[in-house]
């Protein structure tokens, strides 16, 4: 069966992380690994048109390795020290696929090393593990492609010169390093989920990529309940995507969403994961956020929601992560149990004057208390503070109902 260039690109995208991970171990160098996979892609565009090989991943890794070795031999013969070192490294390293799982875990920890800036970790993870092109990543983060390319080049140079290791961290560092990886994956998801302007296609692609990375983390670290919690959280949020934007592109908040549009398969999978990780009795912030989302998913309507359960889960979350943002979200649930006045008292104590949602939530509570002039002022503050046009449109609409 003939294979199109787009199909070949799809296979490479799916196998990119695996191939780069194995080759980075073989050559001890990320650049060589990445270039080698790129060369294999060029070769595949010629060779695969007649049909896919039996094991595309194996074909990519073997071809990439052989081509890289040929190139390194030529460079090494010209006294290139870097090429000589990489060749020497490759002699001692097996290429069998049995160690592939470990290789990808190593690559994740390298990409998410705390010595790299957060935006760099995000870009590296999407490029090397996710197989997104530099242009796609630049597009998703609304920066010029040259800027993103430079960011990636500098990141790989730092990994090499600073000696950021290509291995799973020491036992003692592991909990903190795992948290660092989860932060990067959730950041990718949120970037895609935020309904800001820009290409909706690329944005939903980011969410799917984050979920794919989340699944990979769970398969590589099955004993890590927070990894399971994060995956559950992302699946439950993703399940509402079809319901959260109306036909006119306007944002629809959770209480008003048409719940029949929620993706039932994602909800079911999310619920199963929440049960699985909470059984382990080591709840962390992601597991609790997933559990909160699971309670929402179970309710037939906003008024049917078990708000008291949600408040309890937020109490727990607030104890683990006592941030004003968590306190703000808790107050929203408190409004449903103890009424808007109780919630407003909680909200007014928070030091979040620069956060648009603080004002948006105050505005909503004030509206429910029929304190309309104050509500209008709060909507004005919220509208000024967000740059997100979809959010602005939503808030302006809410405000217009009061005047």
């Amino acid at each position: 069966m003939p294979v199109s260039a787009a199909d070949i690109a799809g296979v490479f995208r799916a196998e990119h992380g695996r191939a780069v991970a194995v080759l980075a171990r073989v050559f001890g160098d990320l650049d060589i690994a990445e270039d080698a996979v790129q060369e294999a892609f060029a070769a595949a565009l010629e060779k695969w048109v007649e049909g896919l090989p039996p094991s595309p991943a194996g074909w990519i890794i073997t071809t990439a390795r052989n081509r890289a070795i040929d190139r390194l031999r030529r460079e090494a013969s010209r006294e290139d020290k870097h090429a000589q070192a990489a060749l020497l490294h490759a002699q001692d390293e097996p290429v069998e696929e049995g160690v592939v799982r470990d290789d990808r875990l190593r690559l994740i920890f390298t990409c998410c090393h705390p010595a790299l800036a957060l935006n760099v970790r995000v870009a590296l993870t999407l490029r090397l593990l996710g197989g997104l092109t530099t242009s796609e990543i630049a597009h998703a983060f609304l920066v010029p492609e040259a800027t993103m390319a430079q960011r990636l080049v500098r990141a790989k140079a730092k990994i090499r010169t600073a000696g950021i290791p290509y291995r799973v961290p020491y036992e003692a560092d592991l909990p903190e390093r795992v948290r660092g990886v989860l932060v990067v994956v959730y950041l990718i998801f949120n970037e895609g989920y935020a309904a800001s302007s820009g290409d909706e296609l690329i944005r939903s692609e980011l969410c799917l990529e984050a979920i794919r990375l989340g699944r990979l983390l769970v398969s590589l670290m099955p004993d890590e309940p927070e990894a399971v919690g994060l995956l559950a959280l992302m699946l439950l949020q993703e399940s509402r995507r079809p319901a959260r934007v109306g036909a006119d592109g306007a944002l629809i908040p959770l209480p008003q969403q048409d719940r029949s549009l929620w993706d039932r398969d994602l909800v079911a999978e999310g619920h199963e994961l929440v049960r699985r990780c909470l059984r382990r009795g080591a709840p962390g912030p992601y597991q609790l956020q997933a559990a909160i989302n699971a309670v929402h998913s179970e309710a037939a309507s906003a008024s049917d929601t078990a708000w008291d359960q949600i408040v309890q889960l937020y109490d727990h979350l607030l104890a683990l992560t006592p941030t004003p943002i968590v306190a703000l979200n808790r107050a929203v649930a408190v409004a449903e149990v103890d009424g808007p006045l109780a919630a407003l008292t909680l909200v007014d104590d928070l030091d979040l004057g620069n956060y648009y949602l603080f004002h948006a939530i105050r505005a909503d509570l004030l509206t429910r208390l029929h304190r309309f002039p104050e509500a209008v002022a709060a909507y004005d503050a919220a509208i000024t503070l967000t740059t997100n046009t979809t959010e602005q449109a939503f808030l302006t609409h809410q405000r217009a109902r009061l005047t």
Partner: protein, 113 residues
């Protein structure tokens, strides 16, 4: 093995009271001893205050000598250590302990070429 420079940045001004400084110096000495025992220590040095610095710069025929330090600022290099380690994670383990001893000073870690 790679070598790393650990630079200690401290605010300008008088040094802490002896009662504060002494236990810190003791901890630094035992950290250096531990590094030596592990084969990680290369060298370390504390520096006199930035007012003691002199800056030189050649420009063609000229050689300009001025009263230092080179950079204006509220913090300056106060001392440094050079260590050797397998990779950044191993070096960071030592650097973390140095930062704990010298709390709240900043430690910059840079690979040596």
């Amino acid at each position: 093995m790679k070598k790393y420079l650990l630079s200690i940045y401290q605010p300008d001004g008088p040094p802490p009271e002896p009662a504060v400084l002494e236990p810190i110096m003791q901890n630094l000495t035992s950290l250096a001893d531990e590094m030596r025992a592990a084969g990680s220590w290369v060298m370390d040095a504390g520096l006199h205050p930035p007012e003691s610095a002199t800056v030189l710069r050649a420009a063609g025929e000229e050689l300009l000598v001025t009263d230092g330090p080179f950079t204006e600022g509220k913090e300056h290099l106060g001392g440094f250590m050079i260590i050797q380690a397998e990779d950044l994670d191993e070096a960071l383990d030592w650097a973390r302990r140095l930062a704990r001893i010298l709390e709240p000073l900043s430690i910059e870690i840079r690979p040596v070429v």
